[in-house]
Symmetry: C2
Subunit: 434 residues, 2 copies
């Protein structure tokens, strides 16, 4: 029952007052790429709105690899430098980390926090790897370390749960955490091939030139790691999670899923109890009425299973402007709000395992009669619930079975019947009702 917490140092709050002058916050940017530039741009574009709320957000300096006067001017920055010493010599109220990856981001964030400067980031790789240590440093120095934009940037929920102990009594979650994968599967469902859908995602700026992090499931797994820490008080290593990417899904799979009353979505799932942590990141079959079933394109969503019932949060997952807005809202929250870190309290180390039992959506290719294949599965204790034949393949929705039994069944049909079978998790058919 230890989970998200919002403990912080006692300090004097200086939250803006109506009618008072707006609070002037000098922002130092680490990195001026897509996200960093968007932070500078959105801060200027939204300055009137921010002023009515009592905030004057002022990006004054940026640390970049290659300073160029044109970039500084474009972002209206007084100081653009490639030297951390120069950046840290500026008077800064908040630092926004927008470099990405672990290093040098980690070292720079650590330096900011130990210097007593609050840090806001959208960097899930950094938070997955070092979130707990950095949060501890933030607390020790009485400053905030916030990363609302690291997970479903367009939908604020991490900070909310950090403040509300009873709402945060979570037991598990099921989520679509990678917008690129979701957009690609949505396109494939609409008839695209995987390469065409990927090419489109890249053209739209959704996927990176190297889309490996997205389509391999690694990006979602990093987010799952940080969610496990915040909601389950569990330390999970990202590289111990069971991760499958979406590259193996083709248009026929999606048509078959539809025929069997559902859809394939890129799912991150976890449930926990004490030290037990059942989880996977993989494309999975969702029944049509599943609350995440209608979340398409680059939209993200998370369904949190908590003591009070299931809560769904969904919306834009990423994109420079959405990310910048979430970062700037976090910057506003660092003002006078002492609970600006998701605090590091006692956490259990957990080794992830696959869920014990699950229904499965199985693709079988090979020229063997369905009845015969069904019998081979049954012999391994994997019982078919529904099946459909499509384009010379057989698709099956099973009753719940353990991963071991499914593996055994797949091996059997591969040997005896020379079929190739691939199994995807299938989520239970629970209406979103309480």
């Amino acid at each position: 029952m230890r989970a998200l917490t919002a403990l912080a140092e006692t300090r004097t709050a200086t939250r803006p007052r109506a009618g008072a002058l707006p609070v002037h916050l000098r922002i130092g940017l680490l990195g001026l790429g897509n996200v960093g530039s968007a932070v500078a741009r959105v801060a200027r574009a939204a300055s009137d709105l921010l002023e009515t709320r009592g905030f004057d957000l002022d990006p004054v300096a940026a640390l970049v690899r290659t300073p160029s006067p044109a970039r500084a001017a474009a972002a209206s920055l007084a100081c653009l430098t490639d030297d951390p010493e120069v950046l840290f010599a500026q008077p800064l109220d908040v630092i926004v980390e927008a470099i990405g990856g672990v290093e040098p981001a980690q070292a720079l964030v650590r330096r900011a926090l130990t210097s007593g400067i609050p840090v806001v980031t959208a960097n899930k790789t950094l938070v997955a790897a070092h979130g707990e240590a950095l949060t501890g440093i933030a607390r020790a120095n009485g400053v905030g370390f916030r990363y609302e934009a690291a997970c479903i940037a367009g939908v604020p929920f991490l900070g909310t749960f950090a403040r509300r102990p009873l709402a945060a009594r979570a037991r598990g979650l099921t989520a679509i955490l990678n917008g690129t994968s979701n957009a690609i599967l949505s396109d494939i469902a609409a008839g695209s091939s995987f390469p065409a859908a990927l090419e489109r995602a890249q053209r739209l700026g959704l996927a990176e030139p190297d889309p490996t992090m997205d389509i391999s499931g690694r990006d979602a797994a990093e987010k799952l790691t940080l969610l496990a820490r915040l909601f389950g008080s569990l330390c999970v290593r990202c590289d111990e999670l069971h991760i499958s990417g979406i590259a193996d899904v083709d248009p026929i799979d999606l048509r078959a899923a539809q025929e069997l009353g559902g859809v394939l979505k890129p799912i991150a799932h976890a449930s926990w109890s004490g030290r037990l942590f059942d989880a996977f990141v993989a494309p999975a079959f969702l029944p049509q009425a599943h609350p995440l079933g209608s979340i398409s394109g680059r939209t993200n969503g998370i369904l949190i299973d908590s003591v009070g019932g299931r809560q769904l949060f969904a919306g834009p997952g990423a994109g420079p402007d959405v990310t910048a807005a979430a970062i700037l809202d976090d910057v506003c929250e660092t003002v006078g709000s002492p609970e600006s870190s998701y605090a590091a309290e006692e956490r259990l180390a957990a080794i992830p395992r696959l869920p014990d039992m699950s229904a499965w959506f199985i693709r079988i290719t090979g020229d063997v009669p369905a009845a015969e294949t069904c019998e081979l599965f049954a012999a391994q204790g994997v019982w078919w619930n529904h099946s459909a034949e499509l384009s010379g393949r057989l698709y099956v929705l099973t009753f719940p079975a353990s991963p071991a039994r499914v593996d055994a069944a797949i091996a059997t049909v591969g040997g005896a019947a020379r079929c190739t079978a691939t199994a995807f998790h299938a989520l239970p058919d629970e209406a979103f009702a309480c």
Copy 2:
């Protein structure tokens, strides 16, 4: 662009620290009915969890109409009284208002706030009627006035947006705000009659013995009033909203909606721009893939249309334990968190009107050929998109048309063809994608 704000008095934060003694908060309850008792019960039941987060929530006193020692003992209260003077003579850190309705709740909340005691409530009737004035009093006295539990109690979002100016740039919303109505329509969709579904909701404790507030749409309209204030900076009078209840919906309507690819849900809808406020509270047709389409039973949901995209929040709407948990989380948030009021800033008065244009789901009863009826509608500029015949009725989904044209068409078929037609709003078929 003025909307939710979190301005508050500058004060010293006393947020709990890890390792420090929990903050002891003496709670005074106004009312000890379903909600008040649940607050006392949940505070005791969750005391271990709360302690690990640094909180010791202690309901010490309650104001009730008829004090009885047994009730005090049941709620472990030191003081149970029917005299406000006695209650206010107790040393209290927070007051939880759980009386409901406008008076005496309003007078007591006002007294608490002017005495410098923060107030938490779930009372949407009070907030709809006096939210702005009470928030102003709270601010003037440097204390919080929170009501996260007043709207979709099981899903925290009001306070979140109050803190995040960029996330709160909303232009409209579509929501299921009344769990009783949603549960009844879900039951009718599953084959119940309206009276049987209502009786079931009452048996389950969802509907009050007098369910008028729920099924008339009034409860949802009060919530829409407070959402308009928080998200649109608009003062709207609840009794000026266009409200239709669900009592007119029958099982055939729901079957027809399904045949036309959708579902009927109890919807509160609003969009705004400056002083213009288009809104209704009514049962409405949603296409199957609408993000609110899968939200059934007593579950609530809100889809917020904002600058950054559409955000969906859904989960348990009410129930004593869910409400009590949200209230207690608000109590935790009053500690050391200065932004504990959704502040009253400049707001525009708006007179609600029906949306200019909307698609419609129309039920037509009467023995007239479909083609003839279609022609009569067309003569009034209301064009049919799809239609279905069911149990001797005709159901139509129209292309967008103004309410005036639809009224005229209904009058025409009523006169010329002696048909009876009833129109429900139909929401557009937009996938939840970005």
